[in-house]
């Protein structure tokens, strides 16, 4: 029997977190996770398979455009870049818009924040995995990428998904207060699609464009994947003085984002 104390600062359970409550929360995490996928599937006949198909279709369209333009794009480079940038876009938007989903779809009872956090992280892991698995199969069958490269792509996808959602969560409160922030984030993500080394490798860039990309965490995920896939990559030129602080900051923001969900959820409940 949970004893709860509700104050303006927080909602706190003062009774012991029992084994039964733990089991109930586990069922809820599973329910929320399934709901998130159900929402994606909707009435569509192919359901969640669209998660897997989306990056393949987009990458194929860009490869077609490049062939028309007679641009010398490497197919494997584009597939890796598109898979990762789609994960970055989806995860960041999910983090920024997280507030709209704080009931978890369970409307008659307040669910614990830990249920929301775990279901978000599990969903992000699975969603990012599914977004990259189709591309991984194509890279293996059509481009002969070695298993180590495929494994690095899957791991990078999952990590990128969690990091971007966590970073996006840091913007959720301000996006709730000033909804214009969502539009600004959309434009930045749109710019990142073309400005980041998604459709091309870092070595194709120069000047300010290249310098900016050295401060773009996406670059490191994409280039590491390309490196382990035996593709053109600038990994050997990376400076630890830039990427270590950059990754450290990203991880810090990720932790902060997820850790702040409870406070965020409470703050915005009367907004």
């Amino acid at each position: 029997m949970p004893n709860i104390i509700i104050t303006p600062e927080r909602l706190r359970q003062v009774s012991e977190y029992t084994q039964t409550e733990r089991e109930d929360d586990s069922s809820r995490v599973s329910f929320l996770l399934k709901n998130k996928f159900r929402r994606i599937a909707g009435d569509r006949r192919l359901g969640v398979v669209w998660i897997l198909l989306d990056p393949i279709i987009i990458a194929s369209v860009y490869l077609f455009v490049f062939s028309v333009l007679r641009a010398s794009a490497n197919g494997a480079t584009v597939f890796i870049g598109i898979a990762l940038i789609r994960i970055l876009q989806d995860s960041t938007k999910s983090g920024v818009n997280a507030i709209s989903d704080f009931s978890g779809g369970i409307k008659a009872e307040r669910i614990r924040t830990r249920v929301l956090i775990f279901s978000s992280i599990y969903f992000r892991v699975l969603d990012s995995f599914f977004q990259s698995i189709g591309v991984v199969v194509i890279l293996y069958l059509a481009y002969g990428v070695e298993p180590v490269g495929l494994l690095v792509i899957l791991l990078s996808s999952v990590t990128l998904g969690i990091v971007c959602e966590g970073v996006g969560l840091n913007l959720a409160l301000i996006a709730r207060k000033i909804p214009d922030v969502k539009s600004i984030v959309d434009y930045i993500l749109f710019l990142m699609f073309f400005g980041s080394p998604a459709l091309y490798s870092l070595s194709s860039t120069s000047g300010v464009h290249r310098t900016l990309n050295l401060y773009n965490p996406f670059t490191y995920f994409a280039e590491v994947c390309r490196y382990f896939s035996g593709l053109e990559s600038s990994v050997n030129e990376f400076s630890a003085g830039i990427y270590l602080p950059l990754m450290g900051l990203s991880l810090l923001l990720t932790y902060r984002g997820y850790a702040k969900i409870d406070e965020l959820r409470w703050k915005v409940s009367t907004w």
Binding site: I4, I5, I6, F31, R38, S103, R110, T270
Partner: protein, 238 residues
């Protein structure tokens, strides 16, 4: 300990909603606050049935949401002793793409019903809802009345220690409302604390021993249900 006898302790609760409004199309707009609850203070004992009355917009739903931990008070403290379920509207979280039956089973596990109790729970909801073969149809095709029947049947089958009901008996046809009143009475007899916000004054008198009247966010009456009903009628007529 005295505190153990309490089911809900509300101490000087204030609540402000924040809103953004724009006067003119090209103005920047401004954020404003609305004081929905002011200094609400009361104690509700375990097993007590309380009618929460007041005009539309008086703050009844806000108070119930606050007790359920859905929204944050801006001042004061609320302590609840036991699992709280808020029956607001008729939807505990049903999913449009699943059938009524699938929804009951999926949601039941999310609300903590164990596998061993699932069959009985399902039968109880379906028997109450009486929607026949529609239970195997997609939920999105259900009428408001059908949704209400399943929703009400579902939540009253949960057996929480504290049940907060917000105007739910207004859904459905006359027959359903009679049936829902019966189920609610049965539920109240069998279980813990209930706070019911309703415009059905007969029901309030019949099933509640105590009444609270809220007016413009302030608790203006706390006493027996008959007195609360009289005050509410008098407030509504003025």
């Amino acid at each position: 300990m005295v505190i153990e006898e309490h089911s809900i302790l509300i101490e000087d609760i204030d609540l402000e909603y924040h809103d953004y409004t724009r006067d003119r199309l090209f103005s920047r707009g401004r954020t404003s606050s609305f004081h929905a609850l002011k200094g609400i203070k009361c104690q509700i004992t375990r097993g007590e049935n309380v009618a929460l009355l007041g005009k539309n917009g008086a703050g009844k739903s806000t108070l119930l949401k606050c007790i359920a931990g859905i929204i944050r008070p801006s001042a004061g403290t609320i302590s609840t002793f036991g699992r709280v379920i808020l029956l607001s509207g008729s939807d505990p979280g049903f999913l449009p793409h699943l059938t009524g039956g699938q929804n009951v089973i999926e949601l039941a596990t999310a609300y903590g019903i164990k596998d061993s109790e699932l069959g009985e729970f399902y039968d109880s909801v379906v028997e109450f809802a009486e929607i026949g073969e529609a239970i195997d149809r997609n939920f999105k095709g259900y009428s408001t009345g059908m949704r209400g029947k399943i929703g009400f049947g579902f939540i009253t089958a949960l057996r929480p220690e504290i049940l907060l009901i917000d105007e739910t008996l207004g859904v459905g046809d006359l027959e359903f409302r009679k049936k829902a009143s019966g189920r609610l009475e049965e539920f109240i007899q069998n279980s813990g604390t209930v706070i019911i916000s309703t415009h059905s004054l007969n029901l309030a008198k019949k099933i509640c021993s105590r009444g609270l009247v809220v007016d413009k966010g302030v608790l203006v009456y706390d006493g027996d249900s008959a007195g609360a009903v009289d005050l509410h009628i008098s407030n509504s007529e003025n």
